[in-house]
Every structure is written in C-alpha cells, then in structure tokens.
Amino acid sequence: MAGPIDITGAMITTPTPAGDWLAVVPVALPIITGAALLMLRKRLHWQAPIAVATLAVVFLATLALLVRVWTFGTVVMTMGRWLPPFGISFTVDLLGALFACTASLVALVCSVAAVQSVARPARRYGYFPFLLLTAVGVNGAFLTGDIFNLYVWFEVFLISSFGLLVVGSTRAQLDGTLKYGVLNLIGTTLFLIATGYLYGIFGTLNMADVIRKVPAVEGAPLMTLATLYLAAFSMKAAAFPVQAWLPASYHTPNVVTSAFFGGVLTKIGVYALLRVLVLLFPLQLAGLSGVIGWVAAATMVLGALGALAQSDIRRMVGFLVISGVGVMLAGLAVGTGPALAGGIFYAMHSMIALTALYLLAGLVAERAGSSSLHVVAGLSSAPVLIIAAFILMLSIAGLPPGSGLWPKIMVVQAALEAQHGWLTAAVLLSSLLTVITLGRFFLFVFWRPPVADGLGERPKRLMSPGPMLALTFLAVVMGLYPEPFVRAASHAADGLLQPDAYVRAVFGEQG
C-alpha cells in the first residue's frame, strides 16, 4: 500500500526500540486480561489469580520503565506511527514513571488483599475486571502525553471505580456512589471545558506541542485556562472547598476498594495539577500560587480537624487523605524545585502509607466487629497490628522514622525559603492534629480495655495482615533510607520546571 506514497511527512519511519514498549505495557496488558476476565465471568476461580499475576507483571513493567526513564531520559511512543502532534503520544518522564510505579505497587498489594476479602457475589459481579480496568485508567493517566487522552483515562478509571464502589449494593454504598458519581462527573466536565478552550486557543492537544506554543499567546486566556484546570483537578484531588464527595463515599465499600481509592485516586488529581500547571502554564501558576497556598492550608488543617471529629475509623482515614493532599498542594503553591520535589515525594509516601492505614482500619474493624471508635477496643492481643499502627501513625504525621518525615521537611524548608511562613505553620499544625487523631485512635483501639457490650460477631476467617505489613515495611524503608526517593523526586521536579527535554523527546532535535 505504502509503495508510491512518501510517508515521511506524516509518519515515523525510524524503527521503535523494543524498550519503548514498556510505556504501553502498563495500559495494554491490564486491558487485555481485564477484557479476558469479562469474557470469563463464569470462571470465578480464574479471576483472582489472573488479576494478581497481571498486576505483578504491570508493576515489574513500570519498574523497568522507571529504570529506563532514569537512564535514557523521557520515553515516547506515538500511537499508530503518526508523527506527533497528530498521533497520541505516550510521553513518560520521570514524574509519570514514579507515580505509575508507586500506583502499580499499591494496585498489586490491593489485589492480593482482595483475594481474601472480596466475597463470591462481588467476584461474580466483576470485581477483578473492574480492578484491572481502574488500574488501566490510572496508569494511562500517568503515562499519556496528550491532554484529551488524559481526560479519557480519567473517565476510564472513574467508570471502573463506580463498579468497584457499588459492588455489593448496600444502602450506604448506593448513597455514597451516587454522590461520588455526580460530583466527579461535574469535575471531569470542568476538565473537558478547559480542554475545549485549550484546543480553541492552541489548535493542538499534545502537551509538548502546547509547551512550544504557550509563549506566543497573550496572558489573559491562559489565566482562564489555568484557573479552570485548577478547579477541575482540585475537585479530583479532593482539595478543600470541593472535597465533599470523598468523605461521603470512601468509607462505604469493601475496605480494599477504599484502600486503593484513598491511596491512588486523589493523587491523580495532584499529578494532573503538577503536569498541567507546572509544565504547561508556569507563569500562570506563579499568579495563582496565593490561591493555591490558601487552598492547601485550608485543606491540610480542615482535613485534620475533620479526622479529629469522626467516630467511624474509616471516615477518619478519609479525612486524613484530604489532609495529605493539602501538603502536596503546599509544594505546588511554593513552586520552587525543592518544594515540588517535596510534594512529589509526599504523594508517593501518601499512596503507600494511606493505603496501609485503610487496610489497617479494615483489619481492626474486622477483628472488633465494628468500625466505631465508641465500640472498638481491647485489641491488645494483636502485636503485629499494634506495631504497624504505631509506625503508620508516625509515618502519616511526619515523625521519624516514618516515610512522611522527609517530604514534609522538604516542603517546610522550601516554604520558609520562599517566605511563606504561614504555609509552614499550617503544615506543622496539621501534623500536630494528625498526631492527636491517630494517637487517640491508637489509644482507644489497642489500650482501652474491651467494652463489654456492643461488640459484633467476629468472622471465622480473618483477613491476613500481610499486604498491609508489606506497605508498612516500605513506609519504614522510605523513612530510613530516603536518598533514592529524594533524588528521583528532585529530578522529576527539575524535569517539570525545565520542559525542554520533554519537548525534545517528543519532537526530536528540531523541536
């Protein structure tokens, strides 16, 4: 077919190195196995092993991708061989690879935990295919270099996450999913509005192409764009004025679902904010940094206060997720290299530590037969849980030797250097409130003598604490040996602040 036509003007003619396929594997593989599991809905005993194996391979692939990006720089694969900006480019820089790798690890651990805790009816409903398709959307969002494609991946993981949230269909779940669905639909519609304007202004959707065209456009429309993106992604990240959907829904489904969502999904909003505001609109970000700073401070403090006021332990963790998002936004508000690096590192820590905390909350609730702080007590006979709970408390509050310490120090230091004293105060205040919240949780659950009445039936087969312990161990490793993580996060932040390498990776040397 291609004989007489000269295709060099429209298509990529250099052969694609096999290593670049690593950029596609984290998306294509779970689509394939997820689709296969949808076809095999009757074979219930195949579902879990296939899902776990797939997510293990996906994690290894993202790890290899991270190594490749670290050694050779940004990996680009443009679908269908069309020259960018016409083809959809998967553009994996260090930021995307770091987030994808951490999220894939969390997904893998959650799938292992789900093997035990997801009941047969939920499997028949399609729990594991939905889990895989959510992982597809998450990885796609982290790896893509095209802004409309980013929107599509947002919708992919949203629609699959509906399935995960509503499976089981208790009254609370229906209620929570309805609020989650409607509010997130409005949020992504805002994203779509912004993208429509972006296309109207630049005539392109490829992010690298937008970076090249930004200097030629006057400021005012760009400010509108940046503000719209800020509103849309803040909603997805559950930042302060638009966070209401998270505490309304995340405590209702199976605890593994909560853990996966609480760990990963809000971070996609943070990732999108970093990607779009820092990479595409750095000048507008500087103008918005005051607003983002206030949003960040309010999110941190009010999230922690909200956690302090909850008696349901899973809702408490939900508010802690919100509080953590504030710290990442504080990094974004300061906007210097070290501050962004702190925000990125905090996001990685938060994915791991909060997933572990959700799983811990599930284990505690299962052993006590309730998730209310009024009832849960006297679990002093479970030493493994006590140690893990203590480490996670330190980790999330940002005390040594937990993983939250170093990113918080990075953000605080950067905020002080940039003369944002009040932002520092907010970070420290939210940490204090978090210590109080989790300390009280620890006290009530493990030290308080058992309350005589009110304890529900204990299930015969308890969930294994293994997946939670694996993540807790990782949190300790991140806290005791933070150098590689700090270096990776710093390089990722540098890559955002100096987009030349990103553009060159997509368009070659002439870009």
């Binding site: 036509i5 949203l158 509906f162 929570g176 309805l178 519609t189 993208t195 296309y199």
Partner: protein, 125 residues
C-alpha cells in the same frame, strides 16, 4: 456564527447550572446532561465553524486536494458524548436503585452513608 453559538453555549451553561443547584437528584442529573451538551457545543465552536467538504479520500487519491473541514473537534465531541452518555445512564440506573432502596431522591434526606448525630468520638475512657 461563532458569536451566536457562544451565546447559546452560555444559555446552556446557565440552564445546566440552575438545574444542578436543585435538591432533587433527577433534576441534578438533567442539569448535568444540559451542562455536558453545553461543553460539546463549546468544543464544536472552539474548533472553528467552517463550510468545507469532509476530509474523505476516494480510492484513487493519495492526498487531499483543497481545503477540508477539521475532523478533530468532532472526534473529541463524539468521545465526550459517548462518555457522558454512559455516565448518565449509569447514574440514572443508580439513582433509580437508590430511590428503590432508600425511598428518597432528595439530597438533603439522603444521609445513609453520613448519618446525622452521634458523630463525635468518645472524649475518654
């Protein structure tokens, strides 16, 4: 033409947001649909309105001759329509299920997941 469509988009947004401010979930969902259609129209307008032939080649051609319409906004709108339609139908089914189970579609009364009262944790032991 763009000006007329822009005003129309504005009207759509107004109607959609007005409906979304309501308490009944069905009205909110209708508002979301109007809102979504406003966005589709917005993308259409932002992609520039022009009177050209569609970019389709017959078998014996190797490249397009003359100006053709830009197919990309339409592709974007198609994607957005599909997504918002599947979202809408999912939420519609979910609303119906919720109405069957809980017996209300009033967002103020819909507090199964976040019960009122007895929220505060114990003060000590």
């Amino acid at each position: 033409m763009e000006a007329v469509l822009s005003i129309l988009v504005g009207l759509f947004f107004t109607a959609g947001i007005y409906l979304m401010l309501s308490k009944a979930i069905v009205r909110i969902l209708l508002g979301v649909v109007v809102f979504g259609n406003a966005v589709n129209l917005l993308i259409f307008t932002a992609g520039r309105i022009m009177r050209e032939v569609p970019p389709v080649m017959s078998l014996d051609m190797t490249q397009l001759t003359g100006d053709t319409a830009n197919p990309l906004p339409q592709a974007l709108i198609l994607t957005a329509i599909v997504i918002s339609f599947s979202f809408f139908s999912f939420l519609l089914v979910l609303t119906f299920r919720t109405y069957q189970e809980v017996g209300t579609d009033d967002t103020v009364k819909l507090r199964v997941a976040e019960p009122e009262g007895k929220i505060l944790p114990p003060m000590g032991y």
